[in-house]
């Protein structure tokens, strides 16, 4: 590795973010195993480099749309892990007031307009957000992250076509972990995949190693500039989901040894090795890891000890006109 131009402080920060995501996911899985998280969670362990490499390049007022596997994206966009964990547990103080849970994590305060429980549904919403940015003449972009399964849904065609037709500032990111829920995506996908499909609609598109945080960082920075100058672009990041579809999915459908083999490409370990080779001391790396674990343990404890919202809150924030708490006339 050429360490001469290596931005040590930037990637030390990236490593810190990746460790925070991993520890958040571990704490969430623990909370799920203890029945503190009641609904399903979709951990992103193994996909941290894609999340950090993309989202660390977004400004606070750039917009992010994410997926059901969105904890990493949301944290990297700047959301408070306390509010996120409270939401996973359905507690007071959660980002979504206990109404959404893991699959609907959102933090509008940092431009994160929501995870989505429907695969591919965020694509149309993202192009609409970009349409609004264009109408208002603002200088920001929308990053829309979806999985490989989403390219087989209609919004992938409709949304990418739309973004190109109106030349909207959207960076589409296909985070390809190889699995559509529990089925190998290659078994259910015709043709050349996300890049070929995007190119057929006139978008520039490219594939990168999604487990190489530096590579993702460099290409994202460049693509954001190009999105601002010339419209939508698709970035296809290959990665691997080191766990199951949900935290309780043993993923027995995977070929024996596949996941074990993939641990050798673990993006967190790869980043650590790279930093180590660049001269970051073992002490500093260990300190980052310990701080991340400690932070997320505190977050876990806070959420565990928090209270559920009162039942009456179920009637709030439905709608103004026709509000269920009052008669119309």
């Amino acid at each position: 590795m050429n360490t001469k131009n290596f931005d040590r402080s930037r990637y030390t920060h990236f490593y810190n973010q990746m460790c925070r995501i991993r520890e958040f996911e571990r704490a969430a899985i623990k909370a799920k195993d203890e029945n503190l998280v009641l609904g399903a969670i979709h951990p992103s362990i193994g996909q941290e480099a894609a999340a950090v490499g993309v989202c660390e390049n977004l400004n606070k007022d750039d917009i992010l749309l994410s997926t059901h596997r969105g904890h990493g994206h949301t944290l990297s966009k700047g959301a408070d892990p306390k509010a996120m964990m409270l939401e996973l547990l359905g507690k007071v103080g959660g980002n979504c007031a206990g109404k959404g849970g893991s699959m609907h994590i959102a933090d509008f305060g940092v431009g994160m307009l929501g995870a989505n429980g429907v695969v591919g549904a965020n694509i149309n919403i993202a192009v609409g957000a970009a349409h609004a940015i264009k109408l208002k003449g603002e200088d920001k972009i929308v990053a829309c992250i979806f999985g490989d399964g989403a390219i087989n849904r209609g919004p992938f065609l409709e949304g990418l076509n739309w973004a190109k037709v109106y030349n909207l500032p959207v960076l589409f990111v296909c985070e390809d972990n190889g699995y559509s829920a529990t089925t190998n995506t290659s078994e259910t996908t015709a043709g050349g995949g996300p890049v070929a499909r995007a190119q057929s609609l006139g978008l520039e598109a490219e594939t990168r190693d999604g487990n190489d945080v530096v590579g993702v960082d460099i290409v994202t920075k460049e693509l954001i500039q190009r999105v601002k100058e010339s419209g939508p672009h698709l970035l296809h990041l290959t990665t691997y989901r080191l766990g199951g579809h949900t935290s309780t999915d043993p993923a027995a459908y995977r070929p024996e040894g596949e996941a074990d083999g993939k641990w050798s490409e673990d993006p967190v370990a790869r980043c650590r090795l790279m930093l180590s080779e660049a001269g970051v001391s073992e002490d500093e790396l260990a300190e980052i890891e310990a701080a991340a674990a400690s932070e997320m343990n505190t977050v876990y404890e806070l959420a565990r000890d928090a209270t559920f919202p009162p039942a009456a809150d179920a009637y709030a924030d439905v709608q103004d006109i026709g509000d269920p708490r009052k008669e119309a006339f």
Binding site: I63, L65, G94, N95, C96, A97, G98, K99, G100, H104, A106, D107, F108, G109, L113, G114, N116, G117, V118, A121, I123, N124, I125, A126, V127, G128, A129, A130, H131, A132, I133, K134, L135, K136, G154, P155, E158, G159, N161, W162, V165, Y166, A316, D317, V318, Q319, D320, I321, G322, P324, E327, A328, F329
Partner: protein
């Protein structure tokens, strides 16, 4: 005060809102050429292609992108061309638009209007004729508006655009050419307020959209037979003006709900049940529904007419119900 058509009134309402508020814009297929019925005629000349946007035939993206644009603080008016085609965007309306505010704990507002030309006109068959309003009333988060007159089509469209909730706005295709008086300076009409269009003491006829006009015609005939029907134009189905209906039923003791949609699980069921639960003691007869049989809409007029409710049918049913 001037006379204009239901279609022109809607167009004027949208144009006035676009002049008043630069965050209002419209998107849909063929809008630059005026829209499929001419509801947008001339608007692209005034407001440009960005604010009267021609879209691809991508219903899911038309509606879904409006959700994103609404969450970003603009006020999109979505044209779905035919109510039937909005079914290509059910996820975007039901799972996204209707849920975003709630699901995100109040962080989002989705101020959008989904215009869906609805109902039967001649020989358009099963995919261009449906009245699906009851579906939308079932979805928490949505407001459902169905204007029946030019004046209401202007005022209610303007109020729907001002509203911070997603509004399903169902205009009836058979009413486009209907002319009526529209005030130059439209006083705001709150969404959810019904109108007692004709006062009477013998039976309450509740309806909305095109069927309201059949109810009014029936009331004329009934008057000749010494039955004074009170006719209520509900105007909006969610929220619906329960108090207005209760008050009328307390007076007349007889309730009939007339709608163009299929009777089974139609909104008439909601109204008759709610009235029965709340003003049972004032009822002199079981509340009745007059609505379409549960069959798809045909092309040939002989068969198509089987799903039409006529003023004559309303008269006959009202005489039977009141025992006159």
């Amino acid at each position: 005060m001037k006379t204009m058509s239901y279609l022109e009134a809607g167009r004027e309402g949208l144009a006035e809102m676009m002049r008043e508020d630069t965050s209002v814009w419209a998107l849909g297929e063929d809008l630059g050429r005026g829209g499929v019925f001419g509801q947008y005629h001339g608007l692209q000349d005034e407001f440009g292609k960005d604010r009267i946007a021609d879209t691809p035939i991508s219903e899911s993206c038309i509606l879904g992108s409006a959700v994103g644009a609404a969450m970003m603080g603009t006020r999109p008016v979505v044209e779905m061309r035919f109510a039937d085609f909005a079914l290509c965007a059910v996820d975007e309306l039901v799972n996204q638009a209707a849920k975003a505010r709630y699901m995100f704990g109040g962080q989002a507002r989705v101020p959008m209007v989904v215009r869906e030309p609805s109902g039967m006109w001649r020989s358009s068959a099963a995919q261009h004729s449906q009245s699906l309003e009851a579906w939308y009333t079932h979805i928490p988060g949505l407001v459902v508006v169905m204007p029946s007159t030019p004046a209401d089509n202007k005022t209610l469209l303007m109020e729907s655009i001002r509203c911070d909730d997603p509004v399903v706005y169902l205009e009836h295709k058979d009413l486009w050419a209907l002319e009526g008086p529209v005030d130059d300076d439209v006083a705001a009409l709150p969404i959810g307020k019904a109108r007692v269009a004709r006062s009477g003491s013998d039976i309450t006829l509740v309806s909305w959209s095109a069927m309201f006009h059949q109810a009014m015609q029936a009331a004329e005939t009934l008057a000749e037979k010494n039955v004074n029907a009170e006719v209520i134009d509900l105007r909006t189905l969610w929220p619906w003006d329960k108090q207005c209906v209760f008050e009328s039923v307390r007076k007349t003791g007889h309730l009939m709900v007339i709608h163009e949609a299929v009777q089974v699980s139609g909104f008439g069921a909601e109204i008759t049940s709610t009235v029965t639960e709340n003003v049972f003691r004032d009822l002199k007869s079981a509340p009745q529904r007059l609505a379409a049989p549960r069959i798809p809409i045909s092309y040939a007029p002989t068969m198509e007419n089987e799903v039409r409710i006529t003023a004559d049918q309303i008269v006959e049913a009202a005489l039977k119900q009141t025992g006159k």
